[in-house]
Amino acid sequence: MNIGSVRDDALYMDELSQKNSPIHRLDPRAKIIASVFFIFTVLSFNRYEIFALISFFAFPVFLLVSAELPVWYLMKKVIIISPVVILIAIFNPIFDREAIFVLAGTEISAGWVSFLSILIRFFLTAGSVLILLACTGFYEVCMALERMRVPPIFVMQLLFLYRYIFVLLDEGSRMVRAHALRSFSDKHMGMKTFGSMLGNLLLRTVDRAERINCAMLARGFAGSVTMHRRIKFRASDVLFVALWPVLFILMRKYNFSGLIGNLLLVIVK
């Protein structure tokens, strides 16, 4: 990941959260609560669970579709970070060799089952986190956190960090582009160049921070940020928070995929 792509990425995620869909209009607290509930339920399965997890795709897919989010883009983001998990998960087939599965005459070891389970968990949880942000937005998340009694100092830090990250990444990617244009796209930046670039970047950012600080003081900053946008818990939010967790509990208790499969087999027979 280079600085430019990280910046574009963060900016695009921000852009996605500005959309106006029924999901975007929901109270951020409702979405956070449902997502956290979702993640907890998914991760509460034992490590050899595969089929029951499949029905949980309903939640991210529902959000993806009704919030009109770019499926492939978010999928790519999840795939990009997947090596970290795969590199740990790959040990399960190595250390866990007992056969528990017989599929078309071939024995499948417990390790491969848990490996697949980890991959599904990973896609569900990482995907739902990205979807949560893409259909909520960071400011709204902060607003929700403030309402959910997270210490105001921490919320303020999140807001400031978020603002400065964009400033820093924005300036940085411009500098990297300028360097690339002047060096025939030489990817190996010299030590001197890199050092002065990062130094300059910090100089500009701190410079800006000082200006913002002055501006804040001039506008009567008294140590806390007041967020003016109001969030309100409406009937649709109540419905969202009530229905999804209930569905998660049902999907946790009853293996929907298994039920459907058995039903189909019975009908076929």
Binding site: L87, I94, F122
Partner: protein
């Protein structure tokens, strides 16, 4: 060193969530009233700085592995432990939300592993003890290296323990530890050197900026002087980074890659068994086969025969198709009428 949601169990993740939330609350209370106006944007800038620095990997000489600056110790030395903990936590929250680096449930683990050890153990118990009385160059270097190494060793060990207790991965304790600790020893030494270089520079030019180095509560920071000092520090770090910068895998990934590449011994699964039994007992439908009466036998493994396997496969496929169809209908229904 970021742990992922997929490898954490709710019990482990939840416990660390509670611990880190309590710590965040405690730090916020400690900062209340002490926070001057310049410190608010300063914490933000430093968070962004660490965020950018963490994206750059440096290679560890002679191993082919690489790691990134976690910056915890550096933040503690500049801001003091309480503000530093808040900054580190905020960086991890942004990484988790925007890049799914880590995860929601694993956030507690990640804040604990990368925040608590450098800020509340390595900094006050090692760095400060070694440096606070005599501010000599060698003491700062030694203090930073030892503190970084201890902080990262504890963090890496904590990753191993949390992964093990979660019981999702089958990695044996000894293999995991033997690969995590040496890799993070190397990362810690490099991190110590880089941290020391910045600290010494700042100490020579503007010692009062290092708020965490001595207890004196100096007045508002001079932004201009801070800026001048930090730019040079950034150049020093930048120089070091460009030397180390590489596309090699992260230390954690490398450790695991190395293990998978080497010869492995017989599988051992006993660590997971108690948890599995517990989960099996609490599960309402431990068996996939719904036609059978449940509770025939209590085994660690879900009892699966080929019929239930096929049922599961067919059902899963059908569920996915159904989900897809319902979503399509939803999309069509939700389309705003123009």
């Amino acid at each position: 060193m970021h742990m992922s949601d997929a490898l954490v169990s709710p019990a482990v993740g939840g416990t660390l969530w509670v611990i880190t939330s309590a710590l965040l609350w405690y730090c916020s209370r400690k900062l209340k009233g002490v926070l001057d106006s310049i410190r608010v944007p300063l914490m933000g800038v430093l968070g962004a700085f660490i965020f950018a620095a963490q994206m750059i990997n440096f290679s560890i000489p002679g191993t082919g592995s690489s790691g990134h600056l976690t910056g915890g110790l550096l933040l503690a030395i500049i801001l003091g432990p309480h503000a530093a903990f808040i900054v580190i936590s905020s960086v991890l929250v942004v990484q988790a939300l925007f890049f799914a680096d880590g995860g929601i449930l694993a956030l507690g683990c990640n804040i604990f592993n990368m925040g608590v050890f450098p800020v509340f153990i390595a900094y006050p118990l090692i760095f400060r003890k070694m440096v606070s009385e005599h501010h000599s160059k060698s003491r700062i270097v030694a203090g930073a290296i030892i503190a970084s190494v201890v902080g990262l060793q504890l963090g890496a060990f904590s990753v191993v323990i949390e992964t093990l207790l979660s019981g999702i991965s089958s990695l044996p304790f000894s293999t995991f530890v033997l690969l995590m600790q040496p890799v993070h020893l190397a990362i810690g030494i490099v991190e110590g050197f880089v941290t020391a270089a910045v600290v010494i520079f700042v100490w020579n030019a503007r010692p009062e900026i290092l708020g965490g180095l001595k207890p004196a509560n100096s007045g508002a920071l001079s932004m201009k002087k801070f800026l001048a000092v930090f730019v040079v520090a950034a150049v020093v770090i930048g120089g070091a980074f460009s030397w180390f910068a590489s596309n090699n895998p992260d230390g954690l990934e490398w450790a695991i890659y190395r293990t998978s590449g080497s010869e492995l011994e017989a599988p051992e699964r006993n660590l997971y068994s108690p948890l599995a039994v517990l989960q099996d007992k609490t599960a309402i439908m431990p068996d996939y086969s719904i036609s059978k009466t449940s509770g025939e036998k209590e085994t660690v493994w879900p009892d699966i025969n080929s019929e239930t396997t096929i049922a599961g496969l067919v059902g899963s496929l059908l569920t996915l198709v159904l989900t897809f169809l319902v979503s399509l209908t939803l999309r069509w229904k939700l389309k705003p009428s123009k």
